[in-house]
């Protein structure tokens, strides 16, 4: 989209790892500070979207292919629901994480982390898929305009 602006490209390249690290920090530090799967998912998706805005959606599609996204969206929900079923199999109530660890507190901790990963996966891939759907159409429109000319 903006292939000529070198300042933008360099700054984005510098920012991308910072955004991704921040997303992971928000994800795994959610137990202790503000944040969690939802916010981290949006931040991670924002990193890829930024890349897509500057380098074009097709470049972003090479980094995170659309097919993987479509598999990841239901995978997050499955991780979440599967954790609940796992605790059912271990003899507790649905979504009661206590039996997952060696003692209840560790189980709760592990359960919260797994569930947040599920939220992260679904949120980030959904946001990205919607962006691909819109941005891809914009790019398709550009291509077809060029073909018409």
């Amino acid at each position: 989209m903006m292939r000529d602006t070198i300042i933008l490209r360099v700054v984005v390249k510098l920012l991308l790892p910072v955004i991704l690290i921040f997303a992971l920090y928000v994800q795994f530090h959610g137990d202790y500070g503000p944040g969690g799967g939802f916010q981290a998912g949006v931040a991670a998706a924002a990193a890829v979207i930024l890349y897509g805005l500057v380098f074009g959606v097709s470049a972003a599609r090479k980094v995170v292919p659309q097919g993987i996204l479509l598999a990841l969206i239901p995978l997050g929900v499955l991780i979440f629901a599967g954790t609940g079923i796992l605790s059912l199999l271990l003899g507790a109530n649905y979504l009661d994480y206590s039996p997952l660890g060696s003692y209840p507190k560790a189980g709760q901790h592990l359960g919260i982390l797994i569930v947040e990963v599920g939220v992260f996966v679904t949120v980030s891939s959904t946001m990205l898929a919607i962006f691909y759907a819109f941005g891809g159409r914009a790019e398709d429109a550009l291509v077809s305009e060029e073909e018409n000319e």
């Binding site: 503000p34 979440f80 609940g84 569930v115 962006f131 759907a133």
Partner: protein
């Protein structure tokens, strides 16, 4: 400042300016949330309201014209509906209990239990995370499912439009 942003959104006919102003409005809203000590909500507002929706709006702006179309009908009925809804909402706040009071229903129900027991029972110092992921796990599961359903819905709608348009174009080409 939020009022200025809203006034700008209403007055401006340039949709790019409107998108940027609504992003600014979201950031101001996030600041309000920080002032109210709701850091998690502020983070969500900043990420989703200011970041994600602004980017999606810009992506859509790439597809449509960036000037607002002139009105084709009188704006009186929408104004009446808006004023009625706003008036009813303000009327509803009159009977709300005083802000932050200890005797309020939301401070008396399960909240004290969460605050007292969440660290002991879940080992998570952040009460918000403990409530979201552990005590109210069902609700968060439902929330994730809503995002899943919404995303799939949008994708189905958009891909449906695309295949139909492609078929239409192919048909036109074969007709020619």
């Amino acid at each position: 400042m939020m009022i200025v942003a809203v006034y700008g959104i209403i007055r401006s006919r340039n949709l790019f300016v409107v998108v940027m102003l609504s992003g600014i409005y979201s950031f101001l809203m996030a600041t309000v949330m920080v002032v109210l000590d709701a850091v998690d909500v502020a983070m969500t507002e900043a990420a989703v309201g200011a970041g994600m929706s602004t980017v999606l709006m810009l992506a859509v702006l790439g597809l449509v014209r960036s000037r607002e179309a002139p009105l084709r009908h009188s704006p009186i009925l929408p104004i009446i509906v808006c004023c009625l809804t706003g008036g009813m909402l303000i009327y509803g706040t009159v009977s709300l209990p005083p802000f932050g009071h200890i005797d309020n229903p939301q401070n008396q129900h399960v909240a004290p239990y969460y605050i007292e027991n969440s660290v002991r029972e879940t080992g998570s110092p952040n009460v918000v995370t403990a409530v979201l992921a552990s005590y109210r796990g069902y609700d968060t599961l439902g929330e994730t499912t809503v995002i899943f359903t919404g995303g799939i819905g949008v994708l189905v709608l958009l891909s449906g439009v695309m295949t139909r348009r492609r078929r239409f174009n192919n048909q036109k080409e074969s007709d020619e």
